[in-house]
Symmetry: C2
DNA sequence: GAACCTTACGAAAACGTTTGCGTGTGGAAA
DNA sequence: TTTCCACACGCAAACGTTTTCGTAAGGTTC
């Protein structure tokens, strides 16, 4: 079993110095054509590849982007990663992905691990627990050590850095408006507990849309779901004997679960109850009926986040003190769950 | 903006040598208690963390596992990653994930990139293109340089290394058997083109089950789908006017697409046509009716793959020459799409 | 006071690169 | 013959660690 070949070995074999080999491979004019060709031929033969680790150490940068997300088995986050990868690869960066599993501790550990030499900067969507604890020391610390951080989706207002978000409130408002415009008036919302930033924002957008139509806020129509894994029973209880003509769900899972529950109740979608979800995922697309939804453009978010980060990594210091927040447009994707078959 | 603090800086500040600092932090008895405490206090204050890159260079290992998968936005693969991460983190390893996007070239590039210093070993499911081209030099090369590789799911028989698979043929046979046992006799299969290893194996399992029931192979009931992104039209054409009582689909997408098409044709599931899919993903679970399926236990696969790899990485050389193939059990998950309502 | 032992620390090499600078050789100009 | 220059190459430092070995200072023993 061969080991990886190094400059030193080539040098020894060819009876020249290490620096000569290095320069020859870089086509330096310092080295005679003869030697250059010999070295290159030899290097090719032995499949020489410079050792990234040594380069990282020397250059004090790793050309690697650390991405930390709350869940890895999650359609939206993987689309974001897809976007990040695309840009990163174009620009010669590697991507390391870690999931925090929504645990504050794991987020901190992963971040510290990557921060101690493995990555030049971070793209991060914070864990549920982190939003709840409001402890952001790991992020602040990372930034104070000179590593830029870009927050996306689940961001933190208190932390000053680049951010990529969608206008959650506006998206929710658009969704609710659409329901109102097709005649719905008793619109329930399935949302998350308030400490999840995006959940709260979407709830606000929903309320804003209602106010514009002079519809008073009705606590009875708002369900804040705590345990996402067991949302079905909560939704079932909530929808029992409830007189509604539409449901706005802040994520895909809530939307399809609501659809199932309503289905079981014998309600027809969209005729009896219209449904709009959030996030254009695989579920909404393939469900029957397919679900109208607000698209979050995950890949776009990833692209923008990666660009922001790389700009900061490669930018001159002048740029360094400037933080940008990119807001990605959402848009409504019309599908069957809100088709207004005449009333 | 502070920079990361190094041993050298601490040494200078405390007016001792670098080696003293290093030893003190490791609680070496060589160093007096006094000095040890002083150094540790200082290190803590300045939040000293050893630089991973330097350690990697010194130790000639990165404590990082490279994972390369064909698609990142894919439920099954992300569950596998979840399993890998779990084991890796337990054992103090980092995980780098790259997607090949089913491109041979990107697979090669990613592999070479990670192989040149970023990872100690690989967990890999090969790209569609790679299976088609039958060019495995990058894998062979990586292994010949001393980096172990574990193949999973889409493996390559010709490459000798550790592997983690499910018994695709057996799983398919189980599925088909189940359809047969509930009385179905005209069972269509929606599968992939033959160069995709798992597709072919599953097709074989299907045929084997039929043979056991003395049902002759019927070309008319076999659809080999080339373009997975546009499977709907292919499936629609295929199912048009076809007399069948069951569909076995080799993946989730084919299964739900078939369900939709049948639905549009006015067929009832499971009464008119039963459906079984492969891979227990989010779609099968939430579809109405929920889909009976063969579970691939993705997370398990990840766990086993990671264990195999780490064993090899940490094992003494005696073990090195031995390659294992782990076969994960599949099992049938009964759901609504095959419930036999008396017939 | 010589020989020896502890204690506590420092020097240096090594991991694999890159790169600025120094230097020996040979030939050409003076 | 001397001086100078270009050419082709090597030396050494640097990145941040760990670890082996060496050693100075001080104390103990006879």
């Amino acid at each position: 079993m061969k080991q990886k070949v190094t400059l030193k070995q080539i040098a020894k074999e060819l009876d020249v110095s290490i620096s000569t080999v290095s320069k020859a491979l870089k086509d330096s004019v310092e080295i005679s054509l003869d030697t250059r060709q010999k070295v290159k031929a030899f290097a090719k033969l032995y499949n020489y590849k410079p050792n990234n680790i040594a380069l990282s150490l020397k250059n004090r940068k790793t050309k690697t982007i650390g991405v930390i997300i709350p869940e890895i088995v999650h359609h939206f986050f993987t689309t974001v990663i897809g976007g990040v990868e695309k840009v990163a690869n174009e620009k010669g960066y590697n991507v390391i992905i870690c999931s925090s599993n929504n645990s504050f501790d794991k987020e901190v550990i992963n971040m510290e691990m990557l921060a101690s030499g493995s990555a030049d900067g971070f793209i991060l969507s914070v864990a549920k627990e982190t939003q709840q604890k409001k402890d952001y020391h790991h992020i602040e610390e990372t930034m104070s050590q000179g590593m830029p951080v870009v927050l996306f989706d689940r961001i933190i207002d208190e932390v000053v850095c680049d951010k990529v978000i969608i206008d959650d409130a506006k998206g929710a408002q658009t969704a609710t408006n659409h329901l109102l415009s097709i005649g719905c008036r008793k619109i329930a919302i399935l949302t998350t507990v308030d400490y999840i930033s995006v959940g709260k924002l979407r709830t606000n957008g929903y309320l804003r849309a209602l106010r514009a139509y002079d519809i008073p806020e009705n606590e009875e129509l708002i369900l804040k779901i705590e345990d996402i894994d067991n949302c079905e029973s909560e939704i079932k209880d909530f929808l029992k004997n409830k007189e509604i003509d539409a449901v706005f769900a802040v994520n895909e899972l809530f939307a399809v679960t609501a659809a199932k529950v309503l289905n079981d109740q014998g309600k027809k979608i969209p005729d009896d109850v219209a449904i709009i979800g959030f996030t254009d995922g695989i579920l909404s697309k393939h469900f029957i009926p397919s679900l109208t939804t607000i698209s979050q453009h995950g890949e776009d978010m990833g692209v923008r986040a990666a660009k922001l980060l790389i700009d900061k990594l490669e930018g001159d210091d002048a740029l360094t003190e400037e933080y940008r927040t990119v807001i990605i447009d959402t848009n409504l994707i019309h599908r069957q769950s809100t088709k207004k078959t005449k009333g």
